[in-house]
């Protein structure tokens, strides 16, 4: 079968709808999901509503620099989730420290670090991350420090995504959307074909280019 003849393969509309729906639900776009449901007839499972709402709130708290609130709600949603995911718990607490430093609440930040973060310091893998965060104290303008990435929205998004995936996993839902998986597949297949057939036969997969048509 020639890969260039992909235009001839048939795709079911229902499949496409469910892929889009799962993407929307994964990212808590519940209003859009409702909209899609009413237009296409794809069903939203009822009991998930509440879960999605709470998950949405938690993720937003992370993005809005309210990491402690996110932790509190997560513990309400799933008691032992953070205990079982120490790395994630640590990242969230560290975010709170960063928030305090940004808000120039240094005394509070130092206290928080001494009481809550310091115990993590006994485990080797957290030490470097702790040192990075503590270094922020040495700068009047944390945004101008070498550790500025800890303040960035990209980093917060990364932690939020991590938390999202972990919650989904905890409630036995897929932590990666089919959409993501499909794109990953295509990328890998393209790469493989390129290796097999030489550079020019199949250029690397680019979502952007594909969307252009």
């Amino acid at each position: 079968m020639d890969p260039r003849q992909f235009e001839h393969s048939v795709v079911d509309d229902k499949d496409i709808h469910s892929i889009v729906m799962s993407y929307l639900l994964h990212n808590c776009f519940n209003e859009t999901a409702d909209s899609l449901a009413s237009c296409t007839g794809v069903k939203l499972p009822a009991d998930d509503r509440d879960n999605i709402q709470r998950r949405k709130q938690i993720i937003h708290f992370v993005l809005e620099m309210k990491a402690l609130k996110a932790v509190e709600l997560t513990e309400q949603l799933a008691k032992d989730l953070l205990e079982k995911n120490k790395d994630l718990h640590f990242d969230l607490l560290r975010l709170h420290f960063v928030e305090l430093v940004c808000a120039r609440k240094c005394n509070e930040a130092i206290e928080f670090a001494k009481t809550i973060l310091a115990p993590f310091g006994t485990v080797q893998k957290y030490v470097e991350k702790l040192e990075d965060a503590m270094a922020l104290l040495a700068y009047d303008d944390p945004e101008k420090s070498p550790l500025f990435h800890l303040l960035s929205s990209e980093y917060r998004q990364q932690v939020a995504d991590d938390l999202n995936r972990t919650i989904l996993e905890h409630t036995n839902q897929p932590s990666y959307t089919p959409m993501e998986r499909i794109i990953q597949h295509v990328t890998v297949v393209r790469q493989y074909l390129t290796e097999e057939n030489g550079k020019d036969a199949f250029p690397p997969f680019s979502l952007k280019d594909s969307l252009k048509g």
Partner: protein
């Protein structure tokens, strides 16, 4: 400078007088002679503590951190010097500690954010200070106990002192170190050096013949034929000898170093050419080129076991013990037999046989029991690590007649029929052996051994009826001992008495050698107590 302090001392004018005096002052202080030290400082106008250090000390102890930093900045030439940055880091850390103890977080952060970057300490150190604020135990806010703070400042001074470059601070105990270096160098070049007694500073250290065995003190005549092997027990209290008269003998070393026959071990039908003491000295193994292996009890002289039996011709040429004194290994000159490991009850534990195991010339086990060294007919040495089964092979170019391992298990020597003794390291780092020569060996099996303080000597028999001694530092013999009238087959150096050596000869005697006469008789006064 006054008093001609720019003068140079020493016969070659290499020593600076002011440095010499400062080192003397330091020595007086470190020995506890404060008054004398201070007096010398006064008389010579040279202070032990340099002006810069005195200033630094004052600033640290009074907590004047800005001045402190300024002094350090001046002392160190360049800001890329890591010791400079470490010193600054330590000082700033103490400064932060003190501010935090007072509860002054904003002042501390100010130092960290505004002052630290100006010093050029490097980002790493600044980040570390930030971490210290959170983690360091000393930063616990609490009572700003002035004693504690003084203590911390003193400790800081000690740490910073270690970082300050010369000549502002000189290393501690400098004079002692210099004198010791000179003494060690003298010991290094002392070829007869054989005891670890403290040396006298009154004269250059140089040992003489009286330190090593070089005179015959006793001749043991009891064997009725050529004596082929001799070995002291591990405790140095006994001696075992083996002869072509088909017997082995156990001798006792008495308190006055006289040697007395204890047991004659008779049972072998053929000449006995090899013995081996168990590590705990309670058992002795005897064997010969055309003989079986026998185990004897040392205390009673009774034969405990004969390994294999004569009919199958399990002739054993050499044997060795494992540290537990219950397992032993023996090698045969008959390739069929190979190498066999036994326990003292006569059970075979393990065997190495086959095409890879030719005739065994000699065999030894390292004192830690981890490796077995075998000399195969007749140019190959194999060192086998028993647990990892890793094997190292050394191929000599001439025929090897015997093998001996040093007491610390780090080296071994082999006698070659090309009249050379080769010394190899067990760790396998050397590409070439150390070579020793001077003795005669072409036809017979001649054996050598390590001996003396830290195994720094080698002794060997020789076909010219003399005993040869070498210091490991020199390839040529240190001493050649005459006395025997025929080939000296084997030597053994007492492991507990570095001044006692035994040699076995074809002239049917064993000679015991002791300290020689000193090169020049000398008396000197030892330290006398002054009341």
């Amino acid at each position: 400078m006054e008093n001609g302090l720019w003068e140079l001392l020493g016969s070659k004018g290499l020593l600076k007088k002011h440095e010499f005096i400062r080192v003397l002052v330091q020595c007086l202080y470190s020995l506890g002679f404060k008054k004398s030290a201070s007096c010398l400082e006064h008389e010579s106008n040279i202070l032990y503590k340099s002006a810069d250090f005195g200033l630094l000390e004052k600033q640290v102890l009074s907590g004047n951190w800005d001045s402190c930093v300024a002094v350090l900045d001046r002392i160190f030439d360049s800001s890329s010097d890591d010791t400079r940055n470490t010193a600054l880091y330590l000082v700033l850390k103490q400064c932060l500690v003190e501010y935090l103890k007072q509860g002054d977080v904003s002042l501390a952060l100010n130092v960290l954010r505004k002052q630290a970057p100006l010093l050029g300490m490097g980002k790493d150190k600044i980040h570390r200070l930030a971490c210290d604020i959170v983690y360091s135990k000393e930063m616990e806010s609490g009572e700003a106990d002035s004693f504690l703070v003084q203590d911390l400042r003193k400790h800081l001074l000690v740490e910073v002192e270690k970082l300050i470059p010369l000549p502002i601070v000189i290393p501690e105990r400098r004079l002692e170190h210099l004198v010791e270096s000179a003494v060690l160098h003298q010991i290094d070049t002392c070829l007869y050096h054989n005891s670890w007694d403290a040396v006298s500073l009154y004269k250059d250290h140089c040992c003489g013949r009286d330190q090593i065995p070089s005179e015959t003190i006793q001749i043991l005549m009891a064997h009725k034929n050529e004596v082929w092997f001799v070995q002291f027990s591990n405790s140095g209290k006994y001696l075992a000898t083996a002869s072509s008269d088909c017997t082995a003998m156990i001798w006792k070393i008495l308190d006055d170093n006289k040697v007395e026959l204890k047991h004659t071990l008779e049972s072998h039908q053929n000449p006995v050419s090899f013995v081996s003491w168990s590590p705990d000295d309670t058992k002795l193994l005897t064997c010969g080129n055309a003989e079986v292996l026998k185990l004897w009890d040392v205390e009673t002289g009774v034969l405990r076991h004969t390994f294999g039996n004569n009919n199958t011709g399990s002739t054993v040429s050499s044997c060795a013990w494992f540290p537990d004194s219950t397992r032993l290994v023996c090698g045969s000159s008959d390739p069929e037999r190979g190498i066999v490991m036994w326990d003292t009850d006569g059970n075979e534990i393990k065997a190495w046989r086959g095409t890879r195991i030719p005739k065994v010339v000699d065999l030894a086990v390292t004192p830690d029991g981890e490796s077995m060294i075998t000399v195969f007919s007749d140019k190959e040495i194999r060192i086998l690590h028993l647990e990892t089964k890793v094997e190292r092979v050394i191929s000599e170019e001439q025929a090897i007649t015997s093998l001996s391992v040093s007491g610390d298990g780090k080296f071994f020597i082999v006698n070659l029929s090309s009249q050379e003794i080769h010394l190899w390291d067990l760790a396998g780092e050397w590409n070439q052996p150390l070579k020793f020569s001077g003795h005669r060996q072409s036809k017979y099996v001649i054996r050598s051994c390590f001996g003396g303080l830290d195994s720094s000597f080698i002794a060997s028999g020789s076909e010219d009826s003399q005993v040869y001694l070498w210091n490991l530092k020199n390839a040529k013999p240190l001493e050649v001992l005459s006395g025997h009238s025929m080939t000296v087959n084997c030597v053994s150096w007492n492991p507990r008495n570095p001044r006692m050596l035994a040699s076995a000869s074809d002239d049917q005697t064993i000679r015991i050698w002791g300290p020689g006469k000193p090169n020049k008789p000398e008396k000197w006064l030892d330290n006398q107590k002054m009341q």
